[in-house]
């Protein structure tokens, strides 16, 4: 058994610790620090954790593929009772431990790397904002939570990170808490996430009761009986036939977890918070709402793949929800006029892609798309942020245009990212998206649900290309629609913002090449790397099979999707560049549809009508009950009753009780009158009394004086 080892692995716990340290510094004494120190501390800490994470991953790679698992338990966090597991009863323990295996290593690299770049970017972007230290403190807190999430070795710790990122997202969306819309958006995000988290938590409970443990795996910890992991327990139960393929309990668990995932990664029907989340500062949108946090759901589902693979129903649900979300969001993105809103919807639809991949069982593809998407979506958001920065706060697409040469350092990377997300070869998006589509079609027999999913996917690809290029054209090309007072001081962003853009552009070009061999049918090293984690527990017979089409068909499929994307691009070119007024005509020709899209299918209004307002009515009803019944009848009534009673008792008190007391007092006064004569209040008279007492005592004792005198000798 060759376990990976080395400095970075043994000090894996440092990776989340660095951001936590600087976050606590910021939130405690950050107010006192100068901006330079703040940026140095925060960015430096994230950089440190990036270095440690990279080092740990390299040391992990040093081990042979089968043993690429490192798990270390810092301390037993919660130890609660005894749970039945496959090996009889073992004590249930949620430990504070970190797990590094291929899956989490990819996540941790993405989180720390992209996070570091975005931190650097934020230095420039937030440079002139108030609450600088607060922003960076929250950002680092988020990094800590996210790293805890991806490095957690059990569901409870993962849930801690899960809630932590939720909290940070809430704080950061409401960063401009003076803006009502911002704080509302924060609250909305929080509440919607709660809905999902409820499901997630229930899922965790189910897992705990079913498997008796919530640790993911016992690999790297030695004896699986001492440290039972879900994976092992599941395997054992399946072997013993106590869990059948597609058992209802597994489906339930999977669906509940997926509810949590939909909440966190903005899938139907819980996606509504993400567009509003764009109220936060742009780096936040890039980091949290595009690159890292929203992918937590994807990560979680991929992490629990063993369970999903055993319940096809759940898989189908995941896939269908993913696909629907993808196309739905894409259509909504068509008509948006706010640059960040467009990007938000595109994020939702890309996440839909990921879930589609997970649903069809191509977990590796999903993670792959997660990674590439992290690159180019972060780039897009940062670019958008740079544009907004350049236009001094303008976010409306209708007030942009012709910026291509005005801010070259922003526009070139933006183009790259757009091509990438549109899936143009050989950029990153192309590989990951085609991986997903290819897997989808590969699952399909001749004519069944997978084919439909594939068609939806391809259609979505076209839509994606269209709205992204619409965005690009409206922003950078064509005639400038920028108001003059803004146009005067259009300025390129500082180096600290443009350099991350360049790096991310490079990444979103080359990021996909790890899957290059897949082109000629070989297995992509990325997939091979993730193999040990993502291959389920059941023997190959029941495992998810991907039919191997010949290369021709593969290329054909690629060509199709690329063609569709190209058509989208062409359409965008036609509508928005060639004939700039055509799109308004188009919009006018289908007013209903345009209105529908523009208002996001009225989903928010729907939710308001169904849930929010009903809840408000309920609470008003309760308030009414409170005032009328409880206050009015209960309190006031009893109060008046009391007053009547006390009237009666007062009379008795006055004439009976006080009467006796006064009588006693008077009597005592009468008796004590002679004694009072002694108390003159003059200390000299007291002294006199003392002297008299002394004289009397001496007079009494002088009879026995000889005894005293004898004692003197």
């Amino acid at each position: 058994m060759v376990t990976p080892f080395g400095y970075f692995l043994t000090h894996l716990w440092l990776v989340p610790l660095f951001p936590l340290t600087s976050a606590s510094l910021m939130l405690l004494i950050g107010r006192l620090l100068p901006k330079g120190a703040v940026s140095f501390l925060c960015v430096g800490s994230v950089f440190l954790s990036f270095v440690h994470a990279a080092g740990a991953v390299f040391e992990l790679l040093a081990a042979p593929p089968a043993h690429r698992v490192f798990q270390s338990i810092l301390f037993e966090w919660v130890t609660a009772g005894v749970m039945p597991t496959f090996g009889g009863a073992t004590s249930f323990a949620a430990d504070w431990g970190y797990l590094l295996d291929p899956l989490s290593s990819i996540m941790v690299l993405v989180v720390t790397g992209v996070g570091f770049l975005i931190h650097v970017y934020s230095i420039g972007y937030m440079g002139r904002e108030g609450g600088y230290y607060r922003f960076f403190g929250y950002l680092n807190l988020f990094m800590f939570s996210m790293l805890t999430l991806v490095l957690a070795n059990n569901l409870l710790l993962l849930f801690v990170g899960w809630e932590g990122v939720g909290l940070c997202s809430y704080l950061l969306i409401g960063f401009y808490f003076l803006k009502k819309s911002a704080s509302d958006a924060g609250k909305k995000a929080f509440i919607v996430n709660r809905v999902g988290d409820t499901g997630f938590l229930l899922g965790i409970f189910f897992i705990a009761t079913t498997f008796g443990t919530i640790r993911f795996t016992s690999q790297g910890l030695g004896d699986p009986r001492g440290f039972p992991g879900i994976f092992e327990v599941l395997a054992a139960m399946v072997k013993q036939g106590r869990l059948a393929f597609g058992a209802p309990v597994l489906t339930t668990i999977a669906l509940l977890l997926f509810v949590g995932a939909t909440g966190k990664s903005a899938q139907l029907p819980l996606y509504v918070w993400l567009p509003d989340a764009m109220e936060g500062p742009t780096p936040v949108s890039a980091l949290i709402h595009a690159a890292t946090m929203v992918t937590a759901g994807v990560y979680m589902v991929a992490r629990m793949n063993a369970i999903y693979q055993l319940s096809p129903a759940a898989m189908d649900v995941v896939a269908v929800v993913g696909a629907l979300t993808a196309v739905f969001a894409a259509t909504m993105a068509l008509a948006q006029t706010d640059i960040k809103k467009v990007l938000a919807y595109s994020t939702i639809s890309q996440l839909g892609y990921m879930f589609l991949a997970l649903g069809v069982g191509a977990f590796a593809a999903g993670i792959f798309h997660l990674m590439t998407h992290a690159f180019f979506k972060a780039l897009l958001f940062l670019g958008a942020g740079s544009v907004i920065h350049a236009l001094s706060g303008e976010q409306d697409l209708r007030k942009m245009g012709g910026l291509w040469n005005a801010i070259p350092a922003t526009s070139r990377p933006f183009l790259v990212a757009t091509l990438a997300i549109a899936g143009m070869p050989p950029l990153a998006g192309f590989f990951s998206k085609d991986e997903i589509l290819g897997r989808t079609i590969a699952r399909s027999a001749m004519l069944d649900r997978y084919l439909a999913l594939w068609i939806i996917g391809v259609f979505t690809a076209g839509l994606t290309a269209f709205y992204m290029f619409r965005l690009l054209n409206l922003t950078f090309f064509g005639l400038s629609r920028i108001p003059h007072e803004v146009e005067h001081h259009i300025h390129e962003s500082p180096k600290s913002m443009t350099i991350p853009l360049a790096i991310l552009a490079l990444l979103s070009i080359v990021g996909g090449w790890v899957a290059l061999p897949a082109l000629w049918g070989a297995e992509s090293p990325f997939e091979k790397f993730l193999e040990p984690v993502l291959s389920g527990v059941i023997p190959e017979t029941g495992a998810i099979q991907f039919a191997h089409h010949p290369l021709i068909i593969e290329f054909l499929l690629m060509a199709v999707s690329v063609a569709v994307a190209g058509f989208g691009i062409w359409l965008a070119y036609r509508l928005y560049l060639k004939f700039p007024h055509l799109h308004s005509k188009v919009a006018a020709s289908w007013p209903r549809l345009h209105k529908l899209l523009n208002n996001k299918y009225y989903v928010d209004e729907l939710y308001d009508a169904i849930f929010v307002n009903r809840i408000k009515d309920l609470s008003t009803a309760f308030a009414l009950f409170d005032t009328r019944v409880i206050d009015g009848l209960g309190v006031d009534g009893s109060a008046s009753l009391t007053r009547i009673l006390s009237q009666i008792s007062m009379w008795g008190d006055k004439w009976v009780v006080d009467g006796m007391v006064n009588f006693v007092g008077k009597f005592t006064q009468l008796l004590s009158h002679p004694v009072r004569m002694f108390q003159t209040g003059l200390f000299s008279s007291y002294a006199m009394w003392i002297l008299i007492g002394l004289a009397i005592l001496l007079g009494y004792y002088s009879r026995h004086m000889e005894v005293l005198v004898r004692h003197l000798r």
Binding site: Q679, L682, F683, A687
Partner: protein, 100 residues
């Protein structure tokens, strides 16, 4: 060195005079002084007997008593000054706050 009776009588005389002063004087400052007188009477006894027994402890206690007298004088005079500030008097028979 006289016989201890001498010293005893001397201290008795001082003690009685002091106590009379404490009782009869009006001016609180003088009352305090009379108290000092009483303490002195005690000191005489202590020192005399320490001389008789050839043991120094009596002087130690005389020393302690002097220290206490100093403390008592300081605090008492402080009280008198504060009182004078508030009531414009130092007369014993106008200090009747003990009976309120």
């Amino acid at each position: 060195m006289m016989s201890p009776a001498h010293y005893l009588f001397l201290s008795l005389a001082l003690f009685l005079i002091g106590s009379i002063g404490v009782i009869t004087r009006r001016n609180v400052i003088v009352v305090l002084m009379s108290i000092e007188l009483i303490l002195n009477a005690v000191n005489i006894n202590l020192v005399a007997f320490s001389r008789i027994f050839g043991d120094v402890s009596g002087q130690v206690f005389a020393l302690f008593i002097i220290a206490d007298a100093a403390a008592e004088a300081a605090v008492g005079l402080g009280i008198i000054i504060a009182f004078f500030r508030n009531r414009e008097t130092v007369l014993a028979d106008e200090m009747d706050l003990l009976k309120w």
